[in-house]
């Protein structure tokens, strides 16, 4: 009797959020899928009552669209270097802070602080820093610094440059730097928690066993940090695949779409040119990209839960 009552109460408590999530998350995903398969690419289509199903036409058009292809490459390279940079820098900072040298507590807080700043603010500030100014007479930001230091060779167009190596637009470099600056402190915090959870005697056992500090790190500590690295990749990865505010505030699409991202294109299609169907198609593609990253994570953490 009592168990039954508890089940009913449990359901009642969970019900409002279940309903809300069902409508506002899954309902809207479903709605977006529906829109992405319609011809709602102008107001008039809707007004004239010609709103109808067109299958995958919007998706096919997107993959024939040079701008969207550029966006996908940009996302790929941005994600790749952003993850590498944040993980490497976060790990190095965590190891340095973990040595417990004087002042490491202070540095820990300093490194972590950028996380408290909104991406929009980060984007605006780094946008100023990497604004090239007028080359060569009136450089700004870092270019001005280089000029003052007599390092004219390093003066460059930064995010306004259309230089590229293959499909990698070099204009993404300043954006990647800004993103790494913002997130490496967070990665450090994750690694630091991981490092501190490794029992000291394991490290000591390795030292007695004959390991140098270098070997202790690479053969004992780093493998034990694998779950942290995995979590960091997932968390940073899903931020990176959906990145909008940082790029939008810092550079926008850039000349020739060198810093354009799917999210910016989606925003412009949907809210600047009323092509709701095409914009929805981008939204669904982004959702699928993130799902590829998130679902393995959910599965593995669910397995972990079951094992406990």
């Amino acid at each position: 009797m009592r168990a039954k009552k508890e089940i009913i109460i449990g359901i009642l408590i969970a019900l409002p959020s279940i309903i809300a999530i069902a409508i506002f998350v899954y309902g809207f995903i479903f709605w977006t899928v529906r829109v992405s398969m319609s011809n709602w690419n102008s107001f008039s289509a809707l007004i004239r009552g010609q709103y109808h199903f067109v299958g995958l036409r919007n998706y096919i058009r997107l993959f024939q669209d040079d701008r969207f292809i550029t966006d996908l490459w940009n996302t790929l390279f941005f994600t790749l270097f952003f993850l590498l940079g944040s993980i490497a820098l976060g790990l190095i900072l965590a190891v340095l802070v973990d040595t417990g040298l004087k002042g490491s507590q202070l540095f820990q807080n300093i490194y972590l602080f950028p996380m408290a700043v909104a991406f929009v603010v980060t984007g605006t500030v780094w946008g100023w820093i990497f604004a090239p100014g007028i080359i060569p007479n009136d450089p700004q930001g870092v270019n001005l610094l280089f000029k003052q230091l007599g390092l004219e060779k390093l003066i460059w167009g930064w995010y306004t440059s259309t230089d590229h190596i293959g499909t990698f637009n070099l204009a993404l470099i300043p954006v990647i730097i800004a993103a790494v600056w913002q997130m490496s402190g967070y990665t450090m915090a994750m690694y630091l928690a991981g490092l501190r959870s490794i029992p000291q005697d394991i490290e000591e056992a390795a030292r007695v066993d004959g390991a140098s500090s270098w070997q202790v790190f690479w053969r004992i500590k780093f493998p034990l940090l694998k779950p942290i690295t995995f979590s960091a990749l997932i968390i940073l990865g899903h931020i990176s695949l959906k990145i909008f505010d940082l790029v939008f505030a810092m550079t926008g699409s850039g000349p020739n779409f060198v810093t354009d991202m799917p999210s910016i294109y989606m925003f412009e299609l949907t809210f600047r040119s009323n092509r709701y169907a095409r914009g929805s198609a981008i939204a669904i593609i982004m959702l699928l990209m993130v799902a590829v990253v998130i679902i393995p994570y959910l599965v593995s953490s669910m397995k972990e839960e079951v094992r406990r």
Binding site: P199, I202, D209, G210, A211
Partner: protein, 367 residues
């Protein structure tokens, strides 16, 4: 040949705490030395200094005749077994045991031979592919020991290795470690707070209290001739009885006079007590040297005392009596067939050959 020698070794932490004070002792080749003391006495710190995990503030440590004060742990040719085993969680049992050999670039075939040999000795051959988290406490313990023995080091260091095992397993591992010591002919330094482990396994015991070595000796000496009141009380269970007493000259020689009884000092101890006549002393006698008069072989009026039984604790193989004699409560370990009943009087016989007397000021043993 692997000898460990500590000469006037001190450990003083940055906050001024003196963890180890002027420790000097030698671990001979193939010797099993136990560092014994209550928790926080500095025994683990001493072991960690031998391992090189803790810096030495003052003094010198020699391993094999060489000063190792500034030698890294990895270059000391030692192996250590930790209290919490400290197995590498991401490696299998095999990899855990092979790790030290791999770092030292042993050939694969040699590593395989040594790991399998150690696994066979320890009876963990069927566990080689498991990860530490899939093992029980006793199995982890064996792997930790295995990791140490594959390296065939000069010295083995054990830091309370049995304290996380349940009582039954502890007894079993105790015997196995002792066997292993004979088999490997290893030099072992072993830290514990358990006097039974020390008594059963050691060739030599170093008793430590508050960072100061109290006594160094073989188990027999430590038990029979404790150097001071601390050692006397720490070794033995139940602990030795300590009773405030006075040495007086009486009929036929010297007597021990307490608040509740008077017993005669054996002739051979009289010289040693000459300076203590008519002075306060601490009289010590172990519970196992006190007998129920009914089962004593040589009761005389000179070694018999009377008291009132306070508590009877039958243990099966023996019975512990807590007996009120004058102002003192005396513990006696007597024959289990004793008729002693709580609240009734009993006659106890003291084996005065095994009496101890301590100076009440210095607590040093007089007898």
């Amino acid at each position: 040949m692997a000898e460990v020698r500590l000469e006037h070794v001190w450990k003083i932490y940055d906050n001024g705490v003196e963890a180890v004070k002027d420790a000097t002792f030698t671990v001979e080749d193939k010797e099993f030395v136990v560092l014994l003391g209550p928790s926080g006495c500095g025994k683990t710190t001493t072991l960690r200094m031998i391992a090189g995990l803790e810096e030495i503030t003052k003094g010198t440590i020699y391993i094999d005749g060489k000063v190792v004060n500034d030698v890294e742990p990895k270059d000391r040719d030692i192996a250590m077994v930790f209290q919490n085993y400290a197995l590498y969680p991401h490696m299998t049992v095999y990899e855990n045991m092979a790790f030290g050999l791999r770092l030292r670039k042993f050939p694969k075939a040699e590593i395989d031979k040594r790991v399998k040999e150690a696994a066979r000795i320890l009876g963990i051959e069927n566990l080689l592919d498991r990860k530490p988290r899939q093992l029980s406490g006793g199995q982890r313990q064996r792997v930790a020991v295995g990791r140490a023995i594959v390296r065939n080091p000069k010295v083995f260091l054990f830091d309370e290795p049995l304290s996380n095992l349940d009582a039954k397993l502890r007894v079993q591992m105790r015997a196995e470690l002792k066997k292993l010591h004979h088999r490997l002919e290893a030099t072992i330094v072993y830290v514990t707070h358990d006097q039974v482990e020390a008594m059963t396994m050691a060739n030599k015991i170093v008793v430590i209290k508050d960072g100061v070595i109290q006594q160094i000796g073989d188990p027999h000496t430590i038990y029979n001739k404790p150097a001071n009141k601390f050692v006397a009380g720490f070794i033995g269970s139940p602990p030795m009885n300590f009773i405030n007493a006075k040495i007086i000259r009486g009929e036929g020689g010297l007597w021990v006079q307490t608040s509740g009884f008077k017993v005669k000092v054996p002739k051979e101890y009289e010289d040693a007590l000459a300076d203590y006549i008519d002075k306060d002393v601490t009289f010590g006698i172990r519970p196992e040297n006190i007998y129920d008069k009914m089962f004593a072989y040589a009761p005389t009026p000179e070694n018999t005392i009377t008291g009132m039984v306070d508590v009877v604790e039958p243990l099966g193989s023996e019975t512990i009596l807590h007996v009120k004699v004058g102002d003192d409560l005396i513990t006696a370990k007597v024959d289990p067939k004793t008729k002693a009943q709580e609240g009734q009087n009993i006659d106890l016989v003291l084996d005065m050959e095994r009496m101890h007397v301590f100076d009440p000021e210095t607590e040093k043993a007089v007898i």
